[in-house]
Symmetry: C2
Subunit: 358 residues, 2 copies
C-alpha cells in the first residue's frame, strides 16, 4: 500500500541511500553484487520513482521550441496552440519552458528563418509543423548534427530523425471524403478537388489527400470522374471567382467539390445562391467561417483533423520522452472525425475545457 522509497530499499539492502541512487540512475561506482542485490529488491518491492520529488530535486527546465504557423496568419493554427497550452498547463510542474517561433503560413522565408532561430536557441527538442517539405528536410539534417530531435505535427514527412508524427493519415482522409461523397452522388456526376494554397509538390499532406480521394473512386465507382486544380491567389476575390467560374464552365456535371484544406469558405462566400444549392461540399477544419457554413447547410461535411489534440499530444510526447523517459510511438494518427451540422457543437473546443488547467 505505502509507496516504497529509495530509503526503504537502502535499509533492506543494508546500504546507504546514495548507493541505491547510483544503481537506480545507473551512475556506476557500485560493486556488481550489491548492484544486483539492490535491483532485485527494488523489483520485488515494486519501486517506482517519485517523479515529483525527482523533478523538485533536479530543478532544471527542459526547453522545447515550437515552430508553427502564426495563429494570426491562419485561423486553423489557433487550435494546435490551444492544445499546447492545455498540455503545458497540465504538465508545467515538470518544468517545461517553451519558446514559440511563429512564421507566416504563406511565407517560406519566414519559415526558414524561424527554423534557424529555433535550432540556435538550443532546445531539447523542436516541435514543428513542417508545412514546407523540402526546407523541413534540410533543417532536419542540421538538427541531427547538433542532436536535437524533431516532433512533427500536422504534416507527415519521412525522415529517420523524426521522434514522432502526430496528425492525420492524409491519404485515408481523402479516401474517407470519397466515401462521404458517394453517399449522395448520382451516377454521372463529377467530383472536383480544389487546393487553395501551397504548391502541391511541396506539401505532401495535401497531395496525399487528393490521392486518397481518387483512390476511393477508382476502387468503388470507377465511372465517377475526379479532377483537381490548385490556385494560390485565393486572397484576391476577383481572381478567385474567375478561377471558379472557369471550373464551373469546364465541368458542367460537377456535383461534388472537395477542398484539401480549411479554405472552403473562401470560395463559398463568392458563390451565387444557386451555386450554393448545387454542390456537395466537403472541407477541412473547424474554423469559425466553416462552422457557420456547415450549420447553414452549405458545407455538407467537415473532416476534423483534431488540431487541438495534435498540440496536446505533441506536448505529452515531449514529456513522455524527455521527462518520463518512456518509449513513444513514431506515428500517431489521430481520428478522421466526420462533422455534420448535427454533431458540430460537440466538437467545438469549449468542450475540452476540463483539459484547461489555467
Amino acid at each position: 500500500m505505502k509507496k516504497i522509497t529509495i530509503k526503504d530499499i537502502a535499509r533492506i539492502a543494508d546500504v546507504s541511500r546514495g548507493t541505491v541512487d547510483r544503481v537506480i540512475n545507473n551512475r556506476g561506482s557500485v560493486a556488481p553484487e550489491i548492484k544486483t542485490r539492490i535491483l532485485k529488491i527494488a523489483k520485488e518491492l515494486g519501486y517506482e520513482k517519485n517523479y515529483m520529488a525527482s523533478a523538485l530535486a533536479i530543478n532544471k527546465v527542459s526547453k522545447l521550441a515550437i515552430v508553427c504557423p502564426d495563429p494570426l496568419s491562419d485561423l486553423f493554427w489557433r487550435l494546435p496552440r490551444e492544445g499546447f497550452q492545455m498540455a503545458l498547463g497540465l504538465m508545467k510542474h515538470y518544468g517545461i519552458v517553451v519558446e514559440y517561433f511563429d512564421f507566416n503560413l504563406y511565407n517560406k522565408d519566414e519559415f526558414i528563418m524561424q527554423m534557424g532561430n529555433a535550432i540556435k536557441s538550443k532546445p531539447d527538442a523542436i516541435l514543428v509543423a513542417p508545412v514546407f517539405l523540402n526546407e523541413s528536410k534540410e533543417f532536419l539534417q542540421q538538427a541531427q548534427a547538433v542532436n536535437i530531435p524533431f516532433i512533427t505535427i500536422n504534416t507527415e514527412i519521412q525522415h529517420s530523425d523524426v521522434l514522432c508524427y502526430i496528425g492525420q493519415d492524409s491519404f485515408h482522409s481523402g479516401y474517407l471524403a470519397g466515401r462521404l461523397f458517394s453517399l449522395q452522388l448520382q451516377p454521372g456526376e463529377e467530383v472536383v478537388a480544389l487546393n487553395l494554397g501551397h504548391n502541391l509538390s511541396n506539401a505532401p499532406h495535401y497531395s496525399a489527400k487528393l490521392a486518397g480521394l481518387e483512390s476511393y473512386f477508382k476502387k468503388h465507382e470507377n465511372h465517377t470522374k475526379v479532377s483537381w486544380y490548385e490556385f494560390d491567389q485565393f486572397l484576391d476575390k476577383q481572381k478567385l471567382r474567375q478561377f471558379f467560374t472557369g471550373i464551373v464552365e469546364k465541368h458542367p456535371r460537377m456535383k461534388a467539390i472537395f477542398f484539401t484544406n480549411s479554405r472552403a469558405y473562401r470560395i463559398l462566400e463568392l458563390m451565387t445562391p444557386k451555386e450554393l444549392e448545387s454542390y456537395h461540399i466537403i472541407g477541412y477544419d473547424m474554423i469559425e467561417p466553416n462552422i457557420k457554413l456547415l450549420k447553414e447547410g452549405r458545407i455538407n461535411f467537415i473532416i476534423n483533423q483534431n488540431p487541438i489534440q495534435q498540440g496536446y499530444m505533441g506536448i505529452i510526447n515531449f514529456v513522455n520522452h524527455f521527462i518520463l523517459k518512456k518509449e513513444i510511438n513514431e506515428t500517431q494518427y489521430l481520428p478522421l472525425d466526420i462533422v455534420v451540422k448535427e454533431n458540430v457543437d460537440f466538437y467545438l473546443d469549449k468542450n475540452l475545457s476540463p483539459l484547461h488547467f489555467n
Copy 2:
C-alpha cells in the same frame, strides 16, 4: 523567467515563509494589512503554487472509488477502464489511490451492493456509471450525507450533488442517427429502434436517444414512421430471433434499424444473408464484433461514445477538483463520433498509446 516561490514573496514582503503560507492557503492568523500586502505581491509576481512540492509535503493520498460495470460482463466497459489507467499513469505522481467496485451490468443488486461498499470505503469522491437511474439517485442522497461527491460518466442524471458528468448528449446522439439514416432513406421507408437490455424507464441515456431519433424525423421528415421496441432476453438466441421475426412481420417497410446500445451484433448474427443486405444499421460503440460488422459493410454507422475519453476525463476532473483545486464544468459532453468503414481504424484505442504511461 525564474519560478517565483513562497520564499521570494516572504523576502519581498519582509515577513517569514510561514506567514506567506498562511495567506496563500487561507489559514488565518495573519494581520489584515499584511495579508493584503502579501496577496498583492503574489499577484504582481505571478506566483503559482508548485504542486509537486506541495504534494510531496502533504504526502497524503486522495482516494477515488470507481463504480463501473465489470469489464468482463460487457465488452464496452473495458474502454473506460483503459481511460482510467491512462490518466492514472499520467497523474499518479499526485498520489491518487483508486479502488474499483465492479458490478455486473445486468445485475441491479450487485450495483446496489457495490455502491454501498464504495461509500463505506470513505473515498474523497466516487466515480460512477449510474446505469440504474432510481438506485443511483438513492445513493447520491446517502453520499451527500457523508459529503462524498459523485463524478458521473456515460449516463447523465440530474442531481444537485453531482460534481460533473462526462459522456454523450444522448438526445443529440439519437438525433444524429436520424440525420445519418436520412442520407440514405427513400420516401416511405420506415425506421425501427431496438433497445436490447435495460428497462427504458430506468435508463435515461437510452430513452433520450430514442427521443432524439424521433425528434429528427418529426422535424425534417414527418412522413417517415419511427417505431421502437425493447427486449431484455437478448442472450437467448432463439427468443431474440423470434422477437426480430415478429418485428420484420409487423414492419414490412422497415429499412433502417437503430440500436440504442452496443448490442447490434446480437441481432445481426442471427439475420439471414438477405436480411443483412436489406437494412441500414446504426449502432453504438467500438467493440470488437461491431467493428467487424462495420468493416464487412453490415453496420453502416457506428456512433462512438468515446468511452476511453470518458474514463480519461473522469480522472482528470478528479485531479482538477481535488488536487489542483480548479473549477470544473458540471457537464462535459464528448463528441458524437461518426464511424464508418473508412475511418474506423483511426478510432481504435491503439492510437491512443501515447497516453499510456505505464
